[in-house]
Subunit: 316 residues, 2 copies
């Protein structure tokens, strides 16, 4: 059984043809070029699907799409996706179905990434887990019984905006003190730059003094790997905050497997060990059993694979 | 169709015979007398059920029990219930079934109170809602599709221990900054006493100066109703904290109906209005629609009714 998985992002659109058991048969991607408009974009998605399918005799069960933003409960429509300027409410499923005669279902990108993990990644051994995507923002997906928990309108799992300090730092949205404000790429970089500016003797100061905006979480990880104690401290602080957020997820949901994905997750142990420590410090004892933080290695493929997994779930 | 609902508490044990549609047919209660031991208690529960049933020709579908503490996933056993000294792991369902030939199911007391609300109280109009029981501690229940969300081990919905300030006040458990530390009866009373001691001119000072331990949340509500601005401030502060916790519940679960039960909920508008304000301040805009805080008026009956509702769900 095969399905098409699509990951629509502000920079790139990725398409994959996925076999239910074997994973990717083929994948491709192209630049989103959002300024060229929606019609151009949907036409190009249609073309690329036709190209992908041309060499395969099997008919896919359908198409799954991951997209940033809030997706309607019927999984057809997205509302004001960030990074796709000019979009208001768009029936993405309808647009794609019009261009290729296959059923189409859409879902929030962090949610499909969680499904990708559930069926093709680190989440495979678990029926229930919580996935955090630590990217520019912090997205979340709650997997219960190998399905997404979606809430009453499809907007559940805004895990980056579960606050750990009501007096805390503002994030992009109108919320304060959520972990997006501590672990979102932009935020962690900004905090790090502020710290490093106070330490002109630190190698990171020399590396970025010409433009601190160039500093990315990966630079912190690399510096930490070389033993830079300031970088280690900055990442540990972010990890500590992550641990408090995990306490909240687990106390609410009683799901003890936490899967981390996204660029910032590459900091690995520099974030995970402090997160474990602060989580165990505040978790009520009965929740300590089976608690684990796991890194997802699928990277950018998670959303495409999860979009296909959703198509298998819905159309087969 | 009828069922028996039992609410086992540290002080009293309440039993009700419940008709699925009409609610209570009869109820009774007796003193727990935990110091007399478990056998005495279970024997007495058995006797009381026999008495309750004697006058009714119908056979109940089964017995539901609400009990403090963590209940096993199979809903037979409770682990170290607070307020029942000397209990470790007890198969309550088994003990009761042994004394009366009916199937028995047990569940955490805050959880069954939520079910009581779902079928017989303020939660009736809603398929999905979050219930908070503001008592000595703060308990929670998550109702999804008229059923309890239980998590991977049955321990979900520790809503009083979802933190809103990782540097915040300690509560009874090893967690900090959960709303139990702000709205639990003991905590709100202690905070109020500390505030009132600073204001010897306040009527509450005169009322409680001989023993500030006597002060209860109800006294604050009564003072607030009389226009005591200090009491209004203290309750508003607790309400503000509640609002932040609600932000966390809604951002995670996308469930926008919050039902409040328990003694502290009697403070009504003095808590609810500030809670609404702080919640709306931090909730992401798409979550504002349909957001509502509702007071449950079933009081102590909620757990008994919910325990019976669980018996209907499981045994009919």
């Amino acid at each position: 059984m095969i399905a098409v998985g699509i990951d629509i992002g502000g920079t790139n659109i990725k398409l994959g043809l996925v076999d239910k058991n074997a994973g990717f048969l083929e994948k491709t991607s192209f630049s989103t070029e959002a300024r060229k408009g929606k019609v151009y974009m949907f036409d190009k998605i249609g073309e690329k699907i036709h190209e992908l399918l041309a060499e395969y005799p099997q008919t896919p069960v359908g198409i799954g799409v991951g997209i940033p933003g809030m997706v309607s409960l019927d999984r057809s429509t997205v509302k004001s996706p960030p990074n796709l300027p000019g979009w208001s409410i768009e029936n993405v499923a309808h647009e794609i179905q019009n261009r290729i005669d296959l059923p189409c279902v859409i879902e929030n990108d962090a949610n499909v990434a969680a499904l990708g993990s559930a069926f093709y990644g680190a989440g495979k051994p678990y029926d229930h887990f919580i996935m955090l995507t630590l990217g520019t923002g912090v997205g979340g997906g709650i997997v219960i019984g190998k399905k997404l928990y979606r809430g009453t309108t499809g907007a559940a799992a805004e895990l980056g905006h579960v606050l750990i300090d009501y007096k805390g730092a503002e994030s992009n949205s109108n919320t304060r003190g959520g972990i997006e404000a501590y672990l979102g790429q932009r935020f962690i970089s900004r905090r790090a730059a502020a710290e490093i500016k106070k330490h002109p003797d630190n190698p990171l100061y020399k590396q970025f003094s010409s433009d601190f905006n160039e500093l990315e979480p990966l630079d912190l990880t690399q510096a930490a790997n070389k033993g830079n104690t300031l970088a280690i401290e900055i990442l540990a602080n972010a990890g500590e905050m992550l641990g408090y957020a995990i306490v909240n997820y687990i106390h609410m949901l009683d799901i003890r497997k936490i899967v981390l994905s996204g660029g910032v997750a590459n900091a690995g142990k520099w974030i995970i060990e402090p997160a474990k420590k602060s989580a165990l410090n505040y978790l009520m004892p009965p929740f300590h059993d089976d608690f684990e933080i796991i890194i997802e290695r699928l990277g950018n493929d998670a959303a495409m694979l999860g979009a296909a997994a959703l198509a298998f779930e819905v159309f087969s």
